[in-house]
C-alpha cells in the first residue's frame, strides 16, 4: 500500500463527515415532507405573500376578543355576529380557543355538495339548526368537564349526522381537540388535517387548528409530523404565537428542499430554495427562545417541543445553508453565533443539543479545511457523554492523526473500541489503528489489528451483501432494522436507526402503534367499538404503512451505503496488510544482506507526566466510565527511520 492511501481515506472521511454535518440537525425525511422538486414556482408564492400574512395579525389586533388568552388572536376575517355557543375553556398550556367568527359572505368558500362532509344544498331547517347547536353545546360541555372521550364521540356523532351540517365545521375542530386531550396526538393531527386542507378561506377554524397543530406537535417526540404539515400549509399563514417557529420550520424545509435540488443537479433552483431558507431564518426574531418559559401548572417542565432556542436553531439553519453553498467562512460565523446564543450564561432557553451540534459542525469545517488543531479544539468542546460525543471523539482521532499525535489517536480508539461501546459501529477505527501502527513501524501490531478487523467485519460484509442483495419490499428492511440482530449485525442495524431520518420515522411509527394499541385499543368498549375508533384506526394504519414504507426505503439506502463503505474499508485493510508484509520482507532481506538483524524500531522518549489538573492512571485493561475519552497511548517504540508522510498528513499550523 502506498503511504498516501490512508491519507486519501482521511480525505474521503472528511467529505463524508461534512455531508453528514449538513444533514445532522435538519432531519429531512423528504418523502415525509412531500418535497416537491417539480414545482418551484409554487414555492415562491409564500415568499411574496409572507409580509402580508405577517401584517394581518397586527392589523386585526384591535378586533381581537378581550378574552383571557396567552396568545395574540389569529387574524379574524371580518367582524361578525357573536357566536351562539360558548367556547371551551382551555386547559393549562393549551391554546386558548379562538372564538371563530363566521366568514363574510364574500370569503365563504364555494359549498361543495360532498356527502362525506355531510353538506347539502338543501335550505337550512331552523329546527335542525337549533338541534345541531344544542348537540354541539352539549358536546362542548362534555369537553369542558374533561369528559374528553365522551365528547369526542359526541362531536363525531354530530359529524355523522348530515342534518347538522351547519355545525360540522366546529364539531370537526372540537373533535380534534378532544382527541389531542385524550393523548391521541396523531389522531388529533389527522383530524386537524381535514380543517387545514380547506385553507384559511375554506374554514373558520383554520388558524385555531394551526395553533393546535403546534400545541400537539410539542408533545410528540420529534417535529417531523408538524414540519410536514407546516410545509403543506405554508401559504395559509401562521398562528401569531408560533410565528418564529413557523418560519424556522419552513426555513428548515426550504433548506432540505435546496439540498434535494442540489443532489438532483438543479443548482439554480437549489439556490432559490436556499435563498428562501435564508429569508425565512431572518424572520425569526431574537426573542424566540430568549427566555425559558416557566412550566405551567401541572407541568414539571416545558414540553419537548417547547424546549430549545428557536432563534439559535434558525441561525443553525442559516449556517447549514452557508455551508451547502460552499461559504465555509459564513457557516463558521453562524455556527459561532449559535454557540454564543446557547451559552448557558446568556440566560436564554437552554439548548445543549444544539450547542453540541454547533461545536461538532465547527470542528468538521475546520477539519475539512485542514485546520486540525482548531478542529481538535472544537471537538474537545463537545460535552463529555453527550449524544454525539463518541462520534466527535472518533472524528477527533483523525485530526490527531493528521498532526502526528499518534498517542491521542490510539487513546481515542481505545475508548471507541472499549466494551462500553461494543454496540457502536466504527469499523474504520480498526483501519486507522492499523495505519498508526504501520506508520510507527509496529508491524506485528498492525497485522494483529488488521486480522481482528477482517475476522470481525468480513462476515458482516457478507451478511450486508446478502440482505441488500435479495429483493424485498421496503417494509421488510424496516422490520429487519427494528428487530435488530446479534453481534456485529446488531451494531449495523442499530446504526441504521441512528440515521436521524430513520430514527424520526421510527419514533413516529412507534407513537402511532402505541396510539393504535393502547391509546385506542385499551379504551372502554363504547369508544373502541365506535365508528370514530374505526375511522381513526384506518387513518393511523394508513399513516403507519406510509411511514414504514419510507423508513424501509431509507433503511435500505443506509444499509447499502454501509455495505459499500465496508467493502472499501476491507479493500483498504488488505492494501495496508500488503504494505506491512512488504516492509517486513524488506527488513528480513536487510538482515540477510547485513548478516545480522536489522532493527527497524528505536526506543522513544516518553513521559507519563501530566498537568497539575490531571492525574496519571496507567491503563491495565480495565475501563472506568469517567476515564472514557481521556486515554492516551504511550508509544514506547517507533520507527528508527521515520516513514515519510504525504503532505496531506503533515502538521498544519
Amino acid at each position: 500500500m502506498p503511504p498516501r492511501a490512508p491519507l486519501r481515506l482521511a480525505v474521503r472521511v472528511v467529505l463524508l463527515l461534512a455531508a453528514t454535518a449538513a444533514l445532522a440537525s435538519a432531519a429531512p425525511a423528504r418523502a415525509q415532507l412531500g418535497i416537491d422538486l417539480s414545482a418551484p414556482k409554487e414555492e415562491k408564492k409564500p415568499a411574496k405573500k409572507k409580509p402580508a400574512a405577517k401584517k394581518k395579525p397586527a392589523a386585526k389586533k384591535p378586533a381581537a376578543k378581550p378574552a383571557p388568552r396567552e396568545v395574540e388572536p389569529a387574524p379574524a376575517p371580518a367582524p361578525g355576529p357573536a357566536p351562539e355557543v360558548a367556547p371551551v375553556a382551555p386547559l393549562p398550556g393549551e391554546p386558548a380557543e379562538q372564538v371563530p367568527l363566521p366568514p363574510p359572505p364574500e370569503a365563504r368558500p364555494p359549498q361543495r355538495p360532498t356527502q362525506s362532509q355531510g353538506i347539502t344544498l338543501a335550505p337550512l331547517d331552523p329546527a335542525a339548526s337549533a338541534a345541531a347547536k344544542e348537540r354541539l353545546a352539549a358536546a362542548k360541555r362534555l369537553l369542558d368537564e374533561k369528559a374528553n372521550e365522551t365528547a369526542a364521540l359526541a362531536f363525531d356523532g354530530i359529524l355523522r349526522e348530515p342534518a347538522y351540517a351547519e355545525v360540522h365545521e366546529e364539531a370537526r375542530y372540537q373533535r380534534g381537540k378532544a382527541l389531542v386531550r385524550m393523548g391521541l396526538l396523531h389522531s388529533g393531527l389527522a383530524a386537524f388535517d381535514e380543517i387545514l386542507a380547506k385553507g384559511p378561506q375554506g374554514s373558520r377554524f383554520y388558524h385555531s387548528a394551526m395553533e393546535w397543530l403546534f400545541y400537539a406537535g410539542r408533545k410528540l417526540t420529534n417535529e417531523q409530523p408538524v414540519l410536514a404539515r407546516v410545509a403543506r400549509n405554508a401559504q395559509g399563514g401562521f398562528p401569531p404565537d408560533h410565528e418564529d417557529r413557523f418560519h424556522y420550520l419552513l426555513a428548515k424545509y426550504q433548506f432540505e428542499r435546496g439540498r434535494a435540488l442540489q443532489d438532483a443537479g438543479r443548482a439554480a433552483e437549489a439556490k432559490g430554495a436556499f435563498g428562501e431558507a435564508l429569508r425565512l431564518t431572518s424572520l425569526v426574531r431574537e426573542a424566540a427562545g430568549g427566555t425559558p418559559r416557566p412550566p405551567l401548572s401541572g407541568e414539571t417542565a416545558p414540553p419537548p417541543g417547547e424546549a430549545g432556542d428557536t432563534f439559535a436553531k434558525a441561525r443553525f439553519v442559516e449556517a447549514l445553508v452557508a455551508y451547502a453553498q460552499s461559504d465555509d467562512a459564513g457557516a463558521v460565523e453562524s455556527f459561532k453565533e449559535v454557540i454564543r446564543l446557547t451559552n448557558p450564561k446568556r440566560g436564554r432557553r437552554a439548548d445543549p443539543e444544539l450547542r453540541e451540534l454547533a461545536f461538532q459542525q465547527l470542528a468538521r469545517i475546520h477539519y475539512q479545511n485542514r485546520q486540525n488543531r482548531y478542529a481538535i479544539w472544537y471537538y474537545g468542546r463537545m460535552p463529555w457523554g453527550g449524544e454525539r460525543w463518541l462520534e466527535g471523539l472518533w472524528e477527533a482521532s483523525w485530526a490527531h492523526y493528521r498532526i502526528g499525535d499518534y498517542e491521542k489517536t490510539l487513546g481515542n480508539l481505545l475508548t471507541i473500541q472499549s466494551p462500553y461501546f461494543e454496540d457502536e459501529y466504527f469499523p474504520e477505527s480498526w483501519v486507522l489503528e492499523a495505519i498508526v501502527y504501520y506508520e510507527n513501524c509496529r508491524y506485528p501490531e498492525a497485522r494483529k489489528v488488521l486480522d481482528t478487523f477482517q475476522r470481525k467485519y468480513e462476515p458482516v460484509y457478507d451478511e450486508l451483501a446478502r440482505i441488500t442483495g435479495r429483493p424485498q419490499p421496503p417494509a421488510a428492511f424496516y422490520d429487519l432494522v427494528r428487530a435488530g440482530g446479534s453481534g456485529t449485525m446488531r451494531r449495523i442495524l442499530k446504526l441504521a436507526l441512528t440515521d436521524r431520518n430513520i430514527r424520526a420515522l421510527a419514533e413516529s411509527i412507534g407513537e402511532i402503534e402505541s396510539e393504535l394499541d393502547r391509546g385506542i385499543g385499551e379504551r372502554r368498549d363504547e369508544f373502541r367499538n365506535s365508528a370514530l375508533a374505526k375511522e381513526l384506526g384506518e387513518k393511523l394504519s394508513t399513516e403507519r404503512a406510509r411511514l414504514v414504507e419510507e423508513a424501509g426505503q431509507r433503511a435500505r439506502g443506509k444499509l447499502e451505503y454501509e455495505r459499500d463503505q465496508l467493502r472499501a474499508l476491507l479493500a483498504q485493510a488488505l492494501r495496508i496488510q500488503i504494505e506491512v508484509s512488504r516492509k517486513e520482507r524488506e527488513a528480513l532481506e536487510g538482515s540477510l544482506a547485513k548478516g545480522s538483524q536489522v532493527e527497524v524500531l528505536k526506543d522513544l522518549k516518553y513521559s507519563t507526566a501530566v498537568s497539575d489538573e490531571h492525574l496519571y492512571w496507567p491503563y491495565e485493561g480495565e475501563f472506568w466510565r469517567d476515564e472514557l475519552g481521556t486515554y492516551s497511548y504511550t508509544l514506547t517504540k517507533g520507527c528508527k527511520d521515520r516513514l515519510p508522510r504525504s503532505g496531506a498528513a503533515t502538521r498544519t499550523p
Binding site: P383, W384, G385, G386, W389, S418, P419, Y420, L615, Y616, W617, P618, E620, G621, E622, F623, W624, R625, D626, L628
Partner: protein, 248 residues
C-alpha cells in the same frame, strides 16, 4: 493518593472511599445510568471461592488482649454478595491496663483472682458471615502504582467460647485449688466493615474491623450483661479458581 469508587455505597462507604467530587459530579454523571461505572473489571469475585488466613487482634477490651489466628472460607455468589464460614482461636494476654493502684499503696498488676471475675477472655470463636461489597475502586499510589480494592459491610452469627466470669468467692476457691473457671460458649453475632486490596487475580490482602456482641454472665456486675469485643482482622486471601470467571 486518591480513590475513585465505582459504586456508591452507604454513608459508610462514602466516608471511606473519599471520591474526587469534581470528576464524579461533572463527568461520570453524563453517562450515569447509561453505562456501568466499570467495564472489563480486572478483579472479579463472582463464582469464586475465597480462602483467607487471618490474624485477629482485639482492640477495646480493658482486661484481655486476644491474639487469634484463623481461617475463613467464603463463596462469592456475585460481585456484591458472598457468604463465608470462619473460625479463629488463640491466646489471651492481660492488657497493660489491668493495674490496680489502691490508695496509699503502690500500683500492682491485677491478680488471677481479680481477672477470674471479669469477662472478655475469649478462647475461640466460629461463625457464619454474609458480606455485601458495593464498592469497587482503585487507588492511585504516588502517581505510579494502582491498587484495586473493594469495601464490604459484614454481618454474621457466631459461637463464642470464653472463660466464665465468676464471683469473688468462686475465684478465691479456684485460686485455692489451683484451678481456673470453665470455658463456656454462647451465641453471638458481629457486624463490621471489610476491605480487600487485590494484589493479583488470585491473591488479595484483607482488613476487617468487626464488633462481636454476645451476652455473658458477670456475677459481680449483677448477672448477664452484653459484651462487645472489637476485633481487627488482617488476612491474606486466595481465590479459587485463580483467575476471574469469564463473563457471561
Amino acid at each position: 493518593m486518591t480513590t475513585r469508587p465505582a459504586l456508591l455505597a452507604l454513608a459508610l462507604a462514602a466516608a471511606l472511599a473519599v471520591p474526587s467530587p469534581g470528576r464524579a459530579q461533572s463527568k461520570a454523571d453524563a453517562f450515569a445510568g447509561r453505562i456501568p461505572p466499570v467495564s472489563g473489571q480486572l478483579y472479579r469475585k463472582a463464582g469464586r471461592l475465597e480462602a483467607t488466613l487471618t490474624g485477629n487482634l482485639s482492640l477495646n477490651d480493658p482486661f484481655f488482649s486476644k491474639y487469634f489466628g484463623g481461617l475463613k472460607l467464603g463463596y462469592h455468589f456475585t460481585e456484591f454478595l458472598s457468604v463465608s464460614a470462619h473460625g479463629a482461636a488463640g491466646p489471651s494476654r492481660k492488657t497493660g491496663s489491668t493495674v490496680l493502684c489502691p490508695t496509699n499503696e503502690p500500683c500492682r498488676d491485677a491478680t488471677d483472682i481479680q481477672l477470674f471475675q471479669v469477662p472478655g477472655e475469649i478462647e475461640w470463636l466460629a461463625g457464619l458471615e454474609v458480606a455485601w461489597s458495593p464498592v469497587y475502586g482503585k487507588l492511585n499510589v504516588l502517581s505510579e502504582q494502582v491498587a484495586h480494592f473493594d469495601l464490604s459491610i459484614l454481618a454474621g452469627g457466631d459461637w463464642i467460647a470464653h472463660r466464665e466470669a465468676v464471683s469473688r468467692e468462686a475465684a478465691l476457691a479456684f485460686e485455692a485449688s489451683g484451678g481456673s473457671p470453665a470455658t463456656v460458649g454462647t451465641y453471638g453475632g458481629h457486624v463490621g466493615l471489610g476491605a480487600r486490596v487485590f494484589l493479583a487475580q488470585w491473591i488479595a490482602l484483607r482488613l476487617e474491623v468487626k464488633d462481636y456482641l454476645y451476652r455473658a454472665d458477670v456475677p459481680n456486675n449483677g448477672g448477664k450483661s452484653l459484651q462487645n469485643q472489637l476485633f481487627t482482622e488482617l488476612g491474606v486471601s486466595f481465590f479459587l479458581p485463580g483467575r476471574n470467571r469469564p463473563l457471561r
